[in-house]
Amino acid sequence: MDDGFEAPYRLEYTYRRSTGAVIGRFLGALRDGRLEGVRTAGGRVLSPPLEYDPESGEDVGAPVDVGPGGVVTTWTWVAAPRPDHPVARPFAWALVRLDGADTAMLHAVDVGGEPGGIRTGLRVRARWRAERTGTIRDLECFVPHDGATPIDVARPTTEVSGPVALLPSPVRLDYTIIAGRHLRTYLSGLAKKRIVGGRCPRCRKVYLPPRGACPTCGVPADHEVEVRDTGTITTFCIIRIPFDAAPFPPPYAAVAVLLDGADMPIFHLVRGIPPEEVRMGMRVRATWVPDAELAPTLASIRWFEPSGEADLPYESIEAHL
């Protein structure tokens, strides 16, 4: 369905995470081209490290060197790698138990692109990136290793050493958002210069847009009713600070408008009056964009302007604040 009511949407968080002493040290070792684990009170070696012993809940003890060789304990094949994967050609995700460790690390194993090259029990070694920054990706992947040949140890590439305190940890997820029938009703109306709300069959309140449930009655508030494009300012805010997405140079007024026939205000802008004269109870009328520019968006109403009618008393808007 592609009728303009479906849109791509990206969720992004630019997190940086503090690592703590145990993980920070592990990441610092990766930057040096070394693999570490931690020893528990019970004598087990965990790599990657945990901050606690999963068997007892106690703190973990001293770091210990592990690897650089290891063995595959289980695996799964990736026939079509994504651009953000560690290996560009088909590869295996595997749990690799590093020599000297009692637990296993999840990472990629590059076996040359052929699924026949991977098996449980395969001996592997780390392949390091030349440029390392203190993340798990400093270890580029594991590759098969016969176990006899000595393994080259990566050499530190930076002057920096010691634990990594902060780790960039961005989140980026893509969605397709869908308006849903109520928002579609509302937005389609705006493209025709109509403002369509939904009435609750129990309390008779009219919501804009129509709503899946009236918060007071718990039943759908979707009996369609058209409300007028005139209304009353219930409250307002003067914007005095410029920002990138500002619709006008400040100062200007953002308002909550209770449209005639609705029980819930919509948020918009008011023009045609100095901002300092905007007030609660003031009567306004919608200024629509030219017909050729009408679209399924609230931006079809350009702004509101004073209608010239007398202000309404506070009591008439009190219940809608």
Binding site: M1, I23, T74, L95, V96, A104, L106, V171, Y175, G218
Partner: protein, 321 residues
Amino acid sequence: MSGIAGRDIAIVAFVELPPVSRDTEREEVELVQPVVSEALARAGLERRDVGFVCSGSCDYLLGRPFSFVAALDGVAPWPPILESHVEMDGAWALYEAWVRLLCGDVDTALVYAYGKSSLGDLPRVLAQQLDPYTLAPLGVDADAIAGLQARALCDAGRATERDVAKVAEGRRVSDGAAAVVLAAGATAERLAKRPAWIRGIDHRIEPHQLGARDLTRSSSTRLAAEHAGAFARRPDVAFLHAGFPHEEIILRDALAIDDAVTRVPSPRADPMIVAGLTRIGHAAATVLDGGADRALAHATSGPCLQQNLVCVLDASREATS
């Protein structure tokens, strides 16, 4: 466990939406409102009679922060109600409601969950629950991780190559919602002819490092089952929450479910965040309608069955040996 505060708690109603693979019409609140209305109607309760409301949902599924606030309209939260939320499967919301009822000051609770996973890329959304230091930066997704567990079970001789191949087909999910009504003591007996008494409920979790776990066993399921009293008497029927066939093999082993127990297979398409609650709901429904005297329900969350909840339901309020 039910004797903690000397209060017996039962499930008296359960309703779920028929699963839809991709719901383009309804917003979250419209998934919630019908199941909540129907569950309360079956229990013979008005919204204002409900003592406590607890919901389960996940903002990452929808890509929308605080989506559960909008969905709350479906339970008519105005005037204010006693309400809580878990960013987890609804099974854990039910656990919170059970604890709340044990406190003794309220006699009824409504639990609901909704999930719309069709808007995003589910394996990547689920990857958000992975360790952010050593797993998330690799770009590994939830289905690939399930493949590691399937392979490990196959290597152990307890799963087949066919089970492993099932993982590569991916998880089948749907959009959906479900609601459950709980009641305590005499109230439960008044609201249902044959209440499904919660004779035990417990949940346990395993380390977030996959390589620190034995992926071929579910120690957390076993522990939760012991604490829920699941081994005291064989259930007539069991509802297991498994995303893949190999997970069911692991769960049957952990719960000691043999062929004498009727196993209800997981549906072809499960709604994320709702599925665990539906297992408890269906188990309760079989007791409520006389289909079984004792039913076991299981819910899972996290990669490779990381966290597990076990609930034992019985037609008998008193412990029988």
